[in-house]
């Protein structure tokens, strides 16, 4: 297909693989090896986007992640759509479709551009000054929101998936330009584990952005050298080169996060849904080398955002990597030598060179000579004061700089379809700064460069402010060898690549942070992403936003998706001029990760959907599923809630199960309870300090209920712990609290009482637990057990015995959470299902009925047992629970001191009581507030407590509830009122919590 700006030869594109793609509804041709940006430029398309605020036409300024504004919506209206992608970073693939974003109705004609017409009324921060009155902000916000934002989010589920991987290495090198390659080669030659990461598809960096043959290294053309070095690195036993891999985050302890694109460059039809789209690397490196290059700055002059104004280095990039001539008649505007190369290259490639405009009063003679030889007109001390052209530059207006203005009568129009600009190069120190390294401003290069590392790190090459190729290679090689040495690998190859680049241009710069403007209404953009002009910075300072962070926030400078890669340093320079303060005193704003945006999916990795948090099921789970149980989520677990039979609803099933458990035989899958094995010669002492009750005298064979308090004296977990032997205990915790309790115990064992010898092991999953309850349980136990008499007389409550069932060793506990005669069988997990089935089979004649968590909750409520987390909320002491008996007076324990605090010891605190609604058919809603008044409520109604648990009890044929009520323990029988949203409060009376005793006459 016709690509009018494609050069007939050269570039790293594959001319045998033509590609068709669409942009903004039109079809174009390109080649494999193009980026979307290079392909668009090959077709003469410069206007690709609209700016954030003023909706100005924006072109392609850069060639990589630094580009501030060439943002597109990739694959619009599909599940794979992505907003805000940089055209400069999208690798072209067959069939690619990109849409323009932030414009309506079209890229060419965008209504939003009206903002630009009235821009004088919308300076930085205008929104802080208005939209307060009239209908108020909520009204105006809708319009502001609709006009802000850029692309649109996908509306469908992501069809792709992502993964994480972890690596340790000796040397991690970020950036495979010449310095990074030299470093990686030196390090890899030692046998050290080396990872070299390059964000683009090809190693080579700046070497690929120059004319083939311009430079030779070690006798090879630069491109061949890159290839050879890559091969050498990849051949080293422990080294790898990751391309399309962006090192985006440098964290503490040399921990690095990188994102690798695995499929984004492939045509949609070729993407493999079984393979990850992107992979996030977690790398811990002994030593890190940052070879992240430098980022070219634009110049700040009126009309500098016109499409067709490009960074001079980017122009070379497109020329040499992609064989694209970004313009046929070009001008250069620069404050440094490097852009002259662009003029020479453009001319050599066949473009007409309208002029080299250098803002410096003078330019080096060598450059002038070359320009003259090539027939390029040169003007020094020159500025551009305006540009013409709607969707692409047509002409630039220049004039002579005279102090801070343009000399009168010096204006001249230069026709051009490309204006290549360079305001100098900023070492790319983003990652270095993330690592907390310190920067220093260097006048020689007019930029910030690394001054002092904070971690095991070295920055080399242009990222370090070293712009000479030979020096970059030497620096890289030395850093690579040194990094390997630090990691214990000594014999690095000492060879420093030899460079021959007869026409290399020395970098020399005289900053011109902003060029003079001719007219009051002229605007020069500092941040082309967020539409921040130099006048906005003037305004910010005028209004007192003088600190660099205030100015940044007030104007939004550098806060776009490019994170200020091309704008920040210019902004600092301009602020320094406005404030008449040296740049080092202005300082920099903090560089925050990620270096460039990272897909959320990649950050989450495989931890999505079913893998988000694994759902845990018990060894008996399938048995519950088979009989149609319904389930409840409890912490990480899925627990059987009720087992409705055919035709039974939830309530009916619940009532039946609870009745059976009290009158015949019930069985609960209690496998989810947290279980912690506690060993060590101080295990007993440890328990005595952790639990509020006494543990020193519990003999082997016995169990005890314990309460755990936090430092505030509030109950945070409970459970029964059994003494297996003098230095060995088996602790149980609540299902949801298990992990937290183990952490808590470890915290105390390791940091508070390191002198105690105690070892903690989670054994929750090692044991399956069947809890048998009801008058027939002893009979079933007798049948089950090989070698233990379950008679409650000889095997008393709160004791445990080792035993066997069909030869399988089990632990049987005589404990109860229902107030009923109960046995808990702990069996090795793999026999869990077998045990359940065996109990069901043998228990049939005893009327065995499985009951779920709901039944368990109800049964324990009948017995008045507390559920920590339901009846308590972190504000309840053991005394509030009426469990004074579980608080020892003789020894210290966690939370003990807090219990004696005057307000914690008060007797009118909210206390745990039973609640019997006057109308026995009313189940008081859980969570309802208890109030003192019988009348309908009006805010603010004082609350004296709330209902924590509430059920219809089958065994007492009436409703029962538990709750916390102020001073409840001394108010037995008194009436209270439960707030009722739908009318008058429910009347209830306070009762003791043990309804078995209260209502059932049990003792």
């Amino acid at each position: 297909m016709n690509q009018p700006f494609r050069l007939p030869e050269g570039g790293l594109i594959d001319r045998d693989k033509p590609v068709t793609f669409r942009f903004d509804g039109k079809s174009y041709g390109g080649f494999a090896g193009d980026t979307l940006a290079s392909a668009l430029l090959a077709n003469g398309v410069h206007h690709v986007a609209r700016s954030f605020k003023y909706h100005r036409p924006r072109g392609i300024l850069g060639a990589g992640p630094e580009d501030p504004a060439a943002l597109v919506q990739l694959e619009p209206n599909t599940a794979r759509t992505e907003p805000n992608l940089r055209a400069t970073e999208i690798e072209l693939y067959e069939g690619l479709n990109a849409g323009a974003q932030n414009c309506w109705p079209s890229l060419g004609f965008d209504i939003g551009a009206i903002n630009d017409v009235f821009s004088r009324f919308f300076p930085a921060g205008f929104y802080y000054k208005t939209f307060m009155g009239g209908p108020g902000w909520m009204f105006f916000e809708r319009f502001i929101r609709a006009s802000a934002g850029l692309g649109v989010a996908p509306g469908e589920i992501d069809p792709d998936h992502y993964e994480h991987t972890n690596r340790h290495c000796d040397v991690l090198i970020i950036g495979a330009g010449p310095a990074g390659l030299a470093a990686a080669r030196a390090a890899a030659s030692t046998g050290a584990r080396v990872i070299l990461a390059e964000q683009t598809a090809h190693p080579g960096g700046q070497l690929l952005d120059e004319a083939a043959g311009q430079t030779t290294i070690d006798g090879m053309s630069a491109r061949d050298w890159v290839k050879a070095v890559r091969e050498e690195i990849e051949a080293a036993p422990e080294a790898m080169v990751l391309t399309r891999t962006n090192g985006f985050g440098y964290y503490n302890d040399n921990w690095f996060a990188l994102c690798q694109q695995l499929q984004d460059h492939l045509p949609l039809a070729e993407r493999d849904a079984n393979k990850p789209r992107q992979r996030l690397w977690h790398v811990r490196a002994r030593h890190i080398i940052l070879a992240t290059g430098a980022i070219e700055r634009p110049l700040v002059f009126a009309g500098n955002d016109r499409p067709g104004v490009m960074l001079a280095g980017a122009v070379r990039h497109y020329l040499h990597r992609h064989a694209v001539l970004p313009g046929r008649r070009a001008a250069i505007l620069a404050n440094n030598n490097s852009a002259w190369q662009t003029a020479f290259d453009l001319k050599t490639a066949g473009a007409e060179m309208a002029a080299i405009l250098d803002t410096r009063p003078d330019a080096p003679q060598v450059l002038r000579d070359r320009a003259e030889a090539l027939g390029i007109p040169v003007k020094t001390g020159a500025a551009v004061t305006g540009t013409l052209g709607r969707r692409r530059i047509k002409a630039a207006r220049t004039g002579d700089i005279e102090g801070d203005r343009i000399a009168i009568g010096s204006a001249e129009m230069i026709g051009c379809d490309l204006l290549a600009v360079s305001g100098g190069w900023s070492p790319n120190v983003a990652l270095f700064s993330q690592s907390r390294g310190q920067l220093r401003y260097d006048d020689d290069i007019a930029g910030f460069r690394p001054a002092r590392s904070w971690q095991e790190e070295a920055t080399v090459g242009a990222a370090n402010g070293t712009f000479d190729l030979a020096a970059c290679l030497a620096e890289g090689a030395a850093a690579g060898a040194n990094a390997a040495r630090v990691a214990g690998f000594d014999d690095a190859s000492q060879s420093v690549p030899r460079v021959s680049a007869p026409h290399a241009i020395d970098y020399d710069i005289t900053p011109a942070w902003r060029l003079p403007m001719e007219r009051k209404t002229d605007r020069a953009f500092v941040d082309m992403h967020n539409d921040v002009t130099s006048k906005d910075l003037d305004l910010a300072v005028r209004e007192g936003y003088r600190s660099v962070e205030h100015a940044k926030r007030y104007t939004t400078l550098g806060m776009g998706t490019d994170q200020g890669k091309t704008s920040s340093v210019n902004g600092f320079g301009i602020l320094s001029e406005i404030l008449d303060t040296p740049i080092p005193e202005i300082g920099v704003t903090t560089y925050r990760p990620p270096f460039k945006p990272v897909t959320f999916g990649a950050v989450a990795g495989q931890h999505v959907g079913a893998n988000f948090h694994p759902r845990r099921t018990t060894p008996m789970h399938e048995a519950h599923v088979e009989v149609g149980a319904t389930f409840e989520i409890v912490g990480d677990w899925l627990r059987a809630r009720v087992y409705p039979r055919a035709g039974e609803d939830f309530d009916a099933a619940l009532q039946r199960e609870c009745k059976a458990a009290r009158t015949q035989l019930g069985m609960l899958d209690a496998s989810t309870l947290g279980k912690i094995d506690i060993r060590g010669k101080n295990a007993r002492e440890f328990l005595n300090r952790i639990y509020s009750n006494a543990w020193l005298k519990l003999p082997p064979g016995r169990c005890r209920y314990g309460l755990m308090l936090n430092e505030d004296g509030m109950v945070f977990d409970d459970g029964v712990t059994a003494c297996l032997s003098d230095d060995h205990f088996h602790m149980t915790t609540t299902t949801g609290g298990a992990a937290g309790v183990l952490n808590w115990l470890e915290d105390y064992a390791q940091t508070e009482w390191p002198d105690l010898e105690v070892y903690l092991t989670s054994v929750t999953e090692q044991w399956a637990v069947a809890s048998l309850c009801g008058p027939n349980s002893t009979a079933l136990m007798a049948e089950l057990l090989d070698d233990l008499d379950p008679d409650p007389e000889s095997f008393p409550f709160m004791s445990w015995r080792p035993a066997h069932i069909a030869g399988i060793p089990v632990r049987v506990f005589r404990i109860s959470f229902t107030g009923e005669l109960s046995y808990e069988i702990n069996i090795p997990a793999r026999y869990g299902r077998w045990l359940w089935d065996r109990c069901m089979a043998l228990g049939e004649k005893h009327g065995i009925t499985p009951y779920g968590t709901e039944g368990m909750h109800l049964l324990r409520a009948e017995a008045g047992f507390v559920i920590v987390g339901q009846d308590t909320d972190g504000t309840v002491t053991p005394i509030d629970l009426g469990m004074d008996w579980a608080v020892k007076k003789t020894a210290d324990f966690v939370g003990a001191r807090s219990l004696t605090r005057p307000d914690t010891a008060r007797t009118d605190r909210r206390q745990f009581v039973g609640l019997l609604s006057e109308d026995p058919t009313i189940v008081l809603p859980e969570g309802s507030q208890i109030i003192a008044t019988p009348h309908e409520t009006e805010p603010r109604t004082p609350m004296i407590g709330y209902v924590t648990s509430s059920y219809m009890s089958p065994n007492f044929s009436r409703s029962i509830a538990l709750g916390l009520v102020e001073g409840g323990h001394t108010r037995m029988g008194e009436p209270v009122y439960v707030a009722n949203k739908n009318g008058t409060p429910h009347r209830a009376s306070i009762s003791p919590v043990n309804f078995l005793k209260e209502l059932g006459g049990a003792s």
């Binding site: 907003p83 000054k129 990620p594 989450a604 972190g874």
Partner: protein, 418 residues
Amino acid sequence: MTAKRYSLLSLFREGLNGHKGWQPAWRAAEPKRRYDAVIIGGGGHGCATAYYLAKEHGLTNIAVIEKGWIGGGNAGRNTTIIRSNYLYDESAAIYDHAMQLWKGLGRELNFNIMMSHRGVLNLAHDDNEMRQLKRRVEANQLNGVDAEWLDAKQVKEYCPIISISPDVRYPVLGATLQRSGGVNRHDAVVWGYARAASALGVDFIEKCEVTGIEIENGKVTGVRTTKGDIKTGKLASVTAGHSSVTAKMAGIRLPIESHPLQALVSEPLKPIHNCVVMSNAVHAYCSQSDKGELVIGAGIDPHISYTQRGAFSILEEEIAALLELFPIFSRLRLMRHWGGIVDVCPDASAIISKTPVAGFYINGGWGTGGWKATPGSGHVFADLIANDKPNDIAAPFTLERFETGKLVAEHGAAAVAH
């Protein structure tokens, strides 16, 4: 100094004038030798305190001393979720006091703080959470705090992009909704308070660190700063993440742990998310800023630190949680992440209190959620400083409560599941 009023008209006039006529929002001041009161910390709470001291108590010879630039601490780092649907009476009182002040604050300060009452959802994912959240709704209603309970279908109506699929790990079973809850623009709040306070005569002294506190006979007499000594009889510390550090200068040890708290934003997008969604179980919350960025946060990093940096693993969990709630966000991108330091009290409630040192007052311990309290906190703290006596709203938040045990245990609301 009378500040030029901000309005559409003044914006228009200045537009014609090249915006040359605007004045500094607040005066950059150098310290005087003596002030009637000195506030340490130019965050949201510090600036609000100064404003209310000047406006409501006529104390205008006062200074706010900020070690960096005002709003550079948590104020400028937070995710600005504002709600007042707290469980306990004491918390509901102060947060709702703040809520009522937020409502008219932009106009009062003549600075658009972009207070957007777009509604805050707190999701429930299991029965225990439902129970807890319903309890809270009812308590809120009895306290006169705006609160409703939504079932899953209603949640979906309110926030159409949320997934209410029952087949996920944490299905959305329901949510509380506070319609008056929302978000605002953090910098604008700080700047707006500073501008209004400065107009009343308050000095804002930036790049000035307090390095010591002068005490004579148990009474504050002044502060030492990097810009010299300043005499004052009333000294108020409002230093958020550094509360313990400043308190220590007066010999007071606070029951506070300081943790990193991280937040992040996505790239800007066209409006897609119109309310605030929070989930405790999944552990993420999300809103969309007026600029279009998704603003996302979660819980603290568990370690104690002053580095303002957290671990990336926390963000991985947070984003995984976000994708659980909003699977369609998977292809969007993380643009920037950062951290702040939050000062957490054992009961997860704040300290607004006199101290054993006469004339020295502390406001801190707001942990992860103090932004929403800013106007209320500043208002009652100013009252405390001016009268040397807490008013009813401030009274429960004394330092003594950690000794007496009269805690305001808001963390209780996040109880364990059984």
